[in-house]
Symmetry: C2
Subunit: 252 residues, 2 copies
């Protein structure tokens, strides 16, 4: 399993992905699920992936390889993020056409999703979610984020905190908490986390971080969030209709 | 969709279910998903259900109807909760055998799950999760709770708080928070909530509550939890590696 999230805020964008891949509990390993395409002053693009690893890797490899042919539309000369999303969707379809039938013979799920976002000079920041079939949708101001993979455990904190006008530092903090919640409830999502933070109009990926198990910041967030939650929980009132249930012996 | 949770703690048991049922967004209605079978001094049994409403209702109706025939094993004369779980599993299979093929013709999902727990005189408290196929598993001390339905949004707070030795009042508070988180992230889970709290050895369901939209306790929990989370979140440190990202204009 995987957990990836991308936010598109007024101030910039935040991308994060875990690194755990598993094919059964005895085949757990670590793969980077974030790929960045950065050309300072021209474009900053981040791709996050979930699903069948061979499908997602090969689709992005194909996209990267097409990028070497300057005579055709590719990720380095596309004029818009919409074109980039379409290119990635086509690469995904190409790989699925090529490998899908063989995977199906062995009942292997060829499902794969991508988040692709960033900014190209002359355009605003944009964020897309690409479905397994290669079609895609774009994030709007009403929906400033997309998640893929094991999305539910980490969603409540995002829903409570993230708005279009959330500051980038708060957004990164919130993403850390969201990963912490997900990793506590699902063993198949795990460190390290790859994190990229993009400042609107900067056209450069200045802020990237690889968060490993001994990362002091993540440990601190995890511990303090846990303690804080327990504190808030302890301060909540007890329902009156329960009376003194924990201190009265049951009738015999 | 539905959300149901049942906890088996040292001090007693807590059962809770929402009441929303939907078959598409324009057919949302409210049905009780909790059924109780209580005979003071003899047995207290609670059943929670998720999945196809006609299947779950009819399975429980069948169980209740069999209970009128004192000459055969039924929910009122069973000597153990294990027998009760088996009876319910058989009722589920009977209803699915009867209706399943017709539902399949219309591509309607006949899936259904139950949580059944409680105490019968002479036995300890027990809790079972019954799968759609009618087979079942029992909660142990290591796993003091089961959830069915839309389980993920409300799981993180349960994982953080609930232990076998958690007090009943804290467990009820925690279940309220778990429902609050679920309802915020999934529109198809909604009030009212049915809640039952059973004190170990009491052999009576003294504590039952029907929590509607104007319930002052639930509103208070929801508001204070939300404010508390925001407070803890605001107190978390900002990652150093982001520097002063929200106050420095990007390079032009």
């Amino acid at each position: 399993m995987t957990y990836c999230i991308a936010l598109k805020l007024n101030a910039g964008m935040v991308f994060a992905s875990d690194s755990r891949t598993n094919a059964g509990v005895d085949q757990i390993s670590s793969f980077k699920k974030m790929r960045t395409f950065n050309k300072i002053g021209d474009r900053s693009i981040v791709i996050l992936s979930s699903g069948n690893l061979s499908i997602t890797q090969n689709a992005v490899n194909l996209l990267e390889q097409h990028g070497r042919h300057a005579d055709r539309l590719n990720i380095w000369n596309a004029e818009s993020m919409f074109d980039v999303a379409q290119l990635l969707g086509e690469c995904l379809r190409e790989v699925r056409d090529h490998d899908g039938v063989f995977l199906k013979q062995s009942n292997v799920d060829a499902g794969a999703n991508f988040l692709v976002g960033g900014q190209i000079q002359g355009e605003r920041m944009r964020l897309f979610l690409i479905y397994a079939e290669g079609n895609f949708i774009e994030a709007s101001d009403n929906t400033p984020y997309f998640q893929i993979g094991e999305t539910k455990y980490g969603k409540p904190i995002i829903d409570r905190v993230i708005r279009a006008d959330t500051a980038l530092a708060d957004a990164v903090k919130c993403v850390m908490v969201s990963f912490d919640s997900t990793m506590r409830s699902n063993l198949s999502v795990g460190l390290p986390i790859d994190l990229a933070c993009y400042q609107n109009q900067s056209l450069n990926l200045d802020f990237q971080q690889h968060i490993t198990e001994d990362d002091p910041y993540f440990s601190q967030i995890s511990r303090r969030w846990s303690e804080g939650l327990r504190g808030v929980f302890a301060s909540l009132p007890t329902p009156e209709w329960l009376g003194d249930i924990d201190h009265v012996p049951p009738p015999q």
